[in-house]
Symmetry: C2
């Protein structure tokens, strides 16, 4: 067992700090989060995209707020406190980032106020919605676990660093082939839940340059037979990486570098880190 | 690498054979499945529950039908061929059992014809729907992977058989505590998608008696401090196990015993089996 990671910064910084600050007043809809957690960022991007009034509450993982633990005894972030009465005094918890995002998208459905739905809605879009769900599943069960196997690679592992990199890039390539041909987003010009689901890990890909000798995506013109695939990836990555909701929910780069050191050394005690180390599905 | 499992029965039997036979005529909505696969059974139960006209097409895993491979080059079952034009001549594929089930539930939504929706619908049920999604996630990312770690336990593993059993039962108990207190189903009297998602593995739990010295759920009156939990489990298990859609999509027990021998010996080359052996998320 490693020790508790007390080096983890306790607060958001940069643009995320501003966004958190502008949502610090009491509100019956509360997102309990951690600046560092990509699953939290999914929920945060959704709240931002849909301009949903809410309160953001930063959880210190070593001194969890009692109000938060009362709501979700498991102490997992993200947790969304949802008002279930008209006065907004009684709240129930939701957790699992995808569940939270879909809930927000379904409930805050007034287009004039909240913009277009992130997951295509209505019976006429049932096939398109199902297609989105297939690729969200690909992100959650293939790309993300491969991200952590790559990030947590150390000398003693049964697989090599190159194998981990190739596996990760393979899942990315499969995803790119499912993107709308023109783009820039998964569904074309329309930003959708599929983009939200992968965005936080896109933002953390620079950490492979810091810790793992590079992510391995070829520079422009160097992609060989896959040149077209990587061009399309770059178009997606640029558009998603520059999206305001994505930028506004990011802290300073150095904080991520510090936070991911324990992942890169495979010393993290986070649930995701432990699951990856033990060969388990991500929690 | 083990050899290809040619001992696998090629056809449904028992009640599943009857149900398949009654859905053998050409139809633009086609479920490509394998009698043996619990993920297929999820889709099949949904089609049955909602009385959805369709064609069932049994896939021989060693000689996959070319029409099927044209539709889904990955060759995974379940695959649903969905008519996308009014004449039903053009079809597109869906895969991932949960995606297929949700799609069917959303599109075949006429209550008079198809019965009540399996996943609570409408904005007023948004919290309930999200709650269902949380527990479907628990089934998919905790109970089912633990089922396979338990089933595929062999002498050489890093964990003991008792540890595998305890982990599996622990996830079941957490699920039981989320069930409606009265029941019999997850949501009470209403049979829902949560029940569908776990039903196929309930039907396969007898295999732990055959291969692993018992599943470890105490007999009535023997549950000690957990007696109430296991009573509630039995109520759920009886109701789901006797549901017509569940029974009608089951083949003869001996076929499952034969099919799971290679799981029990950890020799299966199925994607689920290999993922479990390699410590990966289930595909």
């Amino acid at each position: 067992m490693g020790s508790v990671d007390t080096s983890l910064h306790k607060h958001t910084s940069g643009r995320a700090a501003k966004f958190a600050d502008s949502h610090s007043s009491p509100h019956p809809l509360i997102l309990y989060g951690g600046w560092f957690c990509p699953f939290v960022q999914r929920s945060w991007i959704t709240l931002h995209e849909k301009r949903i009034p809410h309160q953001y509450f930063e959880i210190n993982p070593y001194h969890k707020d009692p109000e938060f633990l009362k709501l979700n005894p498991r102490g997992l972030v993200p947790t969304l406190a949802v008002p279930v009465d008209r006065q907004g005094k009684e709240q129930k918890p939701l957790y699992e980032s995808q569940v939270i995002c879909e809930y927000l998208d379904e409930v805050y459905d007034d287009e004039a106020q909240h913009g277009r739905d992130l997951l295509p809605r209505g019976k006429e879009d049932a096939y398109l919605r199902a297609k989105c769900r297939i690729w969200i599943d690909h992100i959650s069960t293939r790309i993300i676990p491969a991200f952590y196997r790559f990030m947590q690679h150390t000398e003693g592992k049964a697989y090599s660093l190159d194998e981990a990199r190739e596996e990760y890039l393979g899942h990315i390539k499969t995803f790119v082939e499912a993107l709308d041909a023109e783009g820039p987003f998964f569904l074309g010009e329309r930003f959708s839940m599929v983009d939200v689901m992968l965005a936080p890990w896109l933002c953390r890909m620079f950490l492979f340059d810091v810790y793992k000798g590079g992510v391995g995506i070829p520079e422009e013109g160097q992609g060989g037979k896959d040149e077209q695939v990587w061009n399309r990836w770059r178009k997606w990555a640029n558009a998603v990486g520059e999206r305001q909701s994505v930028l506004d929910t990011l802290s300073d780069r150095e904080q991520y570098v510090d936070a991911y050191r324990r992942y890169a050394e495979d010393e993290t005690q986070s649930q995701v880190g432990q699951a990856t180390r033990g060969g388990r599905s991500l929690p």
